[in-house]
Symmetry: C2
Subunit: 308 residues, 2 copies
């Protein structure tokens, strides 16, 4: 049996860019994306899965490239009206985006699993690769600020990452069952490599690793495990990665991320800007900033070239 299966671990925006690149260079059956669900939350009575949705929109070509998040062709009548009746508007939900949340919530309440619903949406939108929630059980990322523990979206969106944090926890992770298809992919004789996308290590990748069995499955998969640095020249491309690293007492650099992953990785992909970084893994260098589709495809090819 040929080793042709790539398993990617991804959070939202940054990870989805590389996942899209990978989807352009791998056959659909040769790519499984394990998505972080630690950002998931309940809002307005709706079950929202931001990273799964970002991956789904991106792979379906429905992502909003103007905003950099959410749905393309979005309209905002719902939020505008919600504001007029005093409803909570701190988390912006577009009218099209809302369809996904309302329908997912309806189906979850009817007893379907998050993964079954994710699969069905992907099928409707013609997405080839499998997007798999790390678990069908709820895992909720929380951060500890001076004022106490905060729900992730309160910190991330509500307070725009302003609070200084000193700890992160993944509530429910210990009791969560990893998605069996994720473990099966990681144990597959077809497995060629594991790619950790350039997502925030603390809030996008580590929740996945916190699900029992997931870290071990990767550590013992016996094939290359490569991470792409989310830090370029000491800065995060987007989001609070750099700020969080500093607050958690880590070196804000590509090397700092590599150190955090440690022995889990066999390989590490740096940007040209960080070519001199000293990291314990075998390193490669590429353009890791992904602006255009061509950038995403080029980085995906560079990653696949490293892992043979």
């Amino acid at each position: 049996m040929s080793r042709d299966l790539v398993v990617a671990l991804s959070g939202g925006i940054g990870g989805a860019k590389l996942a899209l690149g990978l989807s352009h260079v791998l056959a659909p059956e040769n790519l499984v994306i394990i998505a972080n669900t630690g950002d998931d939350f309940e809002h307005l009575g709706l079950s929202i899965s931001p990273d799964i949705d970002t991956l789904t929109y991106t792979l379906a070509g429905l992502d909003n490239t103007t905003l950099g998040w959410g749905r393309r062709d979005e309209t905002w009548s719902f939020m505008e009206t919600l504001a007029t009746i005093g409803g909570p508007t701190w988390f912006r939900l577009g009218d099209r985006d809302l369809a996904l949340h309302v329908e997912r919530t309806r189906r979850l309440r009817a007893g379907e699993t998050l993964s079954a619903i994710t699969d069905d949406v992907a099928r409707h939108w013609g997405i080839g690769p499998r997007i798999l929630p790390m678990s069908n059980d709820p895992v909720r990322t929380r951060v500890r600020a001076e004022t106490g523990w905060l729900d992730f979206q309160d910190y991330f969106v509500g307070q725009q990452c302003r609070p200084v944090i000193d700890a992160i926890a993944f509530h429910g992770a210990e009791a969560a069952t990893p998605h069996p298809d994720a473990l099966a992919a990681l144990a597959s004789p077809r497995l060629k490599a594991v790619v950790i996308c350039p997502s925030n290590p603390f809030i996008s990748v580590e929740p996945i690793l916190a699900v029992p069995g997931m870290r071990d499955a990767i550590a013992h998969c016996g094939v290359p495990v490569i991470a792409v640095s989310p830090i370029i020249g000491g800065k995060a491309v987007k989001g609070p990665t750099a700020k969080m690293m500093a607050e958690l007492g880590l070196e804000v650099s590509a090397a700092g991320v590599a150190a955090r992953y440690g022995a889990l990785l066999t390989h590490y992909m740096l940007d040209h800007a960080d070519a001199g970084a000293v990291v314990p893994q075998r390193t490669s260098v590429a353009q890791t900033l992904m602006t255009t589709l061509e950038d995403k495809i080029a980085l995906a090819k560079a990653v696949l070239a490293v892992i043979g």
Copy 2:
């Protein structure tokens, strides 16, 4: 104490037109509208109250005069997107309309009552008269067709009233508590008259009367009780009233509606087209078709003139 309080019983579209007329000629504190909630249902996990919403939109000047139902300035991104993921689209929910349903559902789940939420929305939108659900307890209208009992919205929207029906039931009505403010208004020394708006008697008004205590409170209120005929020249202005009357074995006429209400009414308002109708109540004649705002105000004035 002067008798200056008018209590109106109303369903959706037709009733809301007269309620709007009344709101233009009565001081806000002198009009209480008891709304039918028998049409309420749960759809997509949302609690939808069609008649309360029609009254609210109409009195706030937010009704969609082009469609004849729903919200003005409506957009349809949600429904369009829901269709692309295979969600149920038989009941059309606009993006703005959805804000009301999502927020109401959230607040109901948090333990608030339907009436408190209705009041708060009315306050946000500057509505003066009180719109009161007949009960905060769920009452669900069902109709019996050849194939068995149907939920009201399945019959009304899903099957567009095509099934022939031979019975109507108000599930939950017997156990429902009438809204105390509705009973208080009907027992108030300020009560001047009860106006039954030109709504469908079977599915808009009778659910209200089926709530324990409501019919008695009207029957014994000691002031004029006037209904405006929803039938003009043997036809319903809108909706299935005429079709239902025929199927239920009643005479399809303004007189047929008057007979149905019977001794509950002291007065009855007919359209000019039906001026010769013989009914047991004291009758008056006016233009009951309400197309413009002026029509609505004129009919409201005609009704108030009758009851002194």
